[in-house]
């Protein structure tokens, strides 16, 4: 049998190829024992040019427009072709593959380059994910991911915690992430009611990549889990992201969310974040401790929240902000980083901090909607 030799020949615009390579480039393996995973796949598919890359944890595919003269496929070093194409002027690029030598020739304006490739057949197959599909609003999904993904664990001593727990039930999708010190939970509406309850754990890294792609996305996003729940695919306009799911059971976090509080302060998110940032400058030297005290005002006077930090033998800072305080006066200390992380993902407005004691978890939730809650464990300090 004679292997069919395809001399791929396509033409596209520099800006489209550069954008596509930029998109899939994030999935290129940086250090891998499988050399072909540092390549990008370039292939013709249904009248368009398909670009794809995978590091075996995630795979990104992207389709760009172009003129197809001859069908074919090849893989070439991703970094090299991306750097080259990025340096070219915004003109037409002709790509021609010499199939026997596996050389890809690129011609654009004054430049003519040849890049040695590897067989497309040797490229790790990117799984076709088929199964239950849910449609989501791109903007809301992006906001939801932003609000939870930072709470996922970065060390992989407990692998499930490096993921975000996704639960589909009825017409609600719940995203949750927790690293043992804090927990973030966000719910959002699905466009259509789900037939049955589903739960998967998606690597936080994959969701961070997805978020990057959602930035300039307006069309709805389709999310598909395969039947045995080993993979998830997010389909955007002209882009697909496939990720391996994390196997295991996510902790039953519902019991970590305090049902009651003893003290509650409502403040402006922007002011609270600003004061936390300032305090953190002083907290750098002392394990990042930012102290918060708040109490109600006398009579009709508004209450006050104090955000402070001190650096041993160097200096200290105290910031005061108006607060609407209910319940007893309260004091609690947090890692300034954790506090900044959560306040930074709240989109302005007002936020409530609820506490039940200096060694009990604090709860942070935006005042204007019920769909987000963050639970953060304080630091134990001497007051």
């Amino acid at each position: 049998m004679v292997t069919q030799v395809n001399a791929m020949k396509v033409t596209c615009l520099q800006e489209n190829l550069a954008r596509g390579l930029g998109i899939v480039g994030r999935a290129v393996a940086l250090r891998s024992t499988l050399p072909i995973t540092s390549n990008v796949l370039i292939a013709t598919e249904h009248g368009r040019i398909k670009l794809a890359a995978t590091n075996l944890d995630i795979a990104l595919s992207c389709w760009i427009g172009g003129q197809i003269e001859d069908e074919g496929a090849i893989t070439v070093p991703a970094r090299l072709i991306a750097d080259f194409v990025n340096s070219l002027p915004q003109e037409k690029i002709d790509l021609t593959l010499s199939p026997r030598s596996k050389q890809l020739k690129l011609v654009c304006a004054r430049n003519e380059a040849t890049i040695g490739g590897m067989d497309a057949d040797d490229f790790p197959p990117i799984p076709a994910v088929e199964g239950d599909t849910y449609e989501l609003d791109a903007k809301i999904l992006r906001e939801a991911i932003t609000q939870v993904v930072f709470s996922a664990a970065t060390d992989d001593s407990r692998p499930v915690l490096t993921g975000v727990d996704l639960v589909v039930e009825g017409d609600v999708l719940t995203l949750a992430a927790a690293d043992g010190f804090r927990l973030a939970v966000r719910t959002l509406k699905l466009k259509k009611k789900a037939a049955e309850k589903q739960e998967v754990i998606v690597p936080a890294k994959a969701l961070s990549e997805l978020n990057r792609l959602l930035q300039d996305q307006e069309d709805p996003v389709a999310m598909t889990f395969n039947a045995n729940k080993t993979q998830v695919m997010f389909r955007l306009k002209d882009i697909e992201l496939v990720a391996q799911l994390i196997q295991g059971t996510f902790p039953d976090y519902s019991r970590l969310i305090p049902k009651e509080w003893g003290s509650r302060a409502v403040v402006e998110v922007r002011d609270f974040l600003q004061e936390t940032k300032i305090a953190s400058i002083f907290a750098r030297d002392g394990s990042g401790i930012v102290r918060i005290t708040f109490e109600g005002g006398e009579g009709a006077a508004p209450g006050q929240m104090t955000v402070s930090a001190r650096a041993e033998e160097i200096g200290d800072n105290e910031g005061k902000l108006d607060a609407q305080v209910e319940g007893e006066a309260s004091k609690i200390a947090f890692n300034g980083r954790y506090l900044q992380d959560v306040l930074a993902v709240l989109d302005g407005g007002r936020v409530a901090l609820e506490t039940t004691g200096p060694s009990q978890p604090g709860v942070i939730k935006p005042l204007d909607n019920e769909d987000y809650v963050h639970v953060v464990m304080p630091m134990f300090v001497q007051w």
Binding site: G180, R182, D285, S287, E313, V375, V376, M377, M379, Q382
Partner: protein, 357 residues
């Protein structure tokens, strides 16, 4: 290339004593426990060193060498204060300060040099500043690496300033005895001498294989240091690793009420030091030295980190009981607490385990 200063206060404890008591200035001062109590020299002023008095020498011997020396009992709290003022000046120069002890630190001043300052001038200014603000003298070694800087600071003590220019490291080190290198102790020194290696230059010319054979697993690293190659960065704020207290007895002791009282006292001292350091310890170790100088240590892990004298004393008592001393003569007992956790602020844990029933 980095620029690193090794800053070392001269005869620190003795200098503080001379600073606080003008009558001691210009006199041989020896800081340490009393001679009849088997005390050792913690520090000696340069006037006393002229008579051959050295740190860690038994006090009795020091006072024989220098008959008119003035012995002063150490005041560690005061040394701590002085050290803090000096370190404040270090940190005003650069945040990259790696303390080695109360009187010694590495400072990374690469940024200043890149901005055009002269390494010699930076060190000279630092010495002036320390003298003006605290009255103490500082010796500085300036080089491109920690190990060369450390050797350089020792060369012109007291009040020394030695700058080793980039590229001159190897020639600078070559004539020095191998003992001057970090990581070469008396035992290694002996082994090297047997192989005919006496100077750092000799060691520098060793091949990898020979270095490994002579110096063990870290051989190549030590050999590279001999060549002036040392890329270890200045690590600011080294965390305190352990807190301890030990007592050398005035006369040998057998296990009995006196030893148990010393144990209790040591536990209280350690607890106080832990509290001072704002830390709790996870492990407790005891150290016992027999009359023949053999030393044994035993350690145990506490159920939870603690800084309580009672907990430390209980753990130490159990360890001591396990030793079965059987009337053995002892000359030293000590308690050391390690695996410290900060009490100043420890991050609370939201949950542990897998949260299932």
């Amino acid at each position: 290339m980095p620029t690193i200063i090794h800053a070392d206060l001269d005869a620190f404890y003795a200098s503080v004593e001379q600073l606080d008591d003008p009558r001691l200035r210009g006199k041989p001062v020896v800081v340490g426990g009393s001679a009849d109590g088997r005390g050792v020299v913690a520090a000696a002023s340069y006037e006393a060193r002229a008579f051959g008095v050295r740190s860690a020498m038994p006090m009795a011997r020091a006072l024989r060498l220098c008959l008119h020396a003035v012995r002063v009992s150490p005041r560690f709290a005061r040394y701590g204060e002085c050290s803090a003022s000096v370190f404040r000046l270090f940190r005003a120069l650069t945040p990259l300060v790696e303390p080695l002890s109360l009187d010694e630190a590495f400072l990374d001043v690469t940024g200043w040099v890149e901005d055009g300052a002269s390494p010699r001038q930076i060190a000279a200014d630092l010495k002036d500043e320390v003298r003006a603000q605290t009255g103490l003298t500082l010796s500085c070694g300036v080089a491109t690496s920690k190990s060369v800087a450390k050797i350089a600071s020792d060369l012109e003590k007291p009040d020394g300033l030695v700058v080793v220019a980039q590229g001159a490291e190897r020639t600078f080190l070559a004539p020095m005895p191998v003992r001057a290198l970090w990581g070469v102790g008396p035992k290694t020194d002996e082994g090297l001498a047997q192989a005919g290696i006496r100077t750092i230059g000799d060691l520098a010319s060793c091949a990898d294989g020979q270095a490994l054979r002579l110096l063990g697993t870290h051989g190549v690293g030590i050999r590279d240091m001999a060549r002036g190659i040392d890329q270890r960065p200045v690590v600011p704020e080294r965390e305190r690793k352990s807190v301890g207290a030990e007592t050398t007895f005035a006369h040998d002791l057998v296990d009995g009420p006196e030893l148990r009282a010393i144990l209790r006292q040591s536990a209280e001292t350690v607890a106080r030091r832990l509290e001072h350091a704002g830390a709790r310890a996870s492990t407790v170790a005891i150290k016992v030295r027999y009359a023949d100088f053999t030393t044994v240590t035993r350690q145990t892990t506490l159920a939870a980190p603690s800084s309580s004298a009672n907990t430390i004393a209980t753990a130490s008592t159990e360890l001591l009981d396990q030793l079965a001393l059987d009337g053995a003569q002892l000359r030293l007992f000590g308690i050391q607490c390690s695996k410290l956790v900060d009490t100043a602020g420890s991050q609370g844990v939201l949950w542990e385990g897998d949260l299932r029933d």
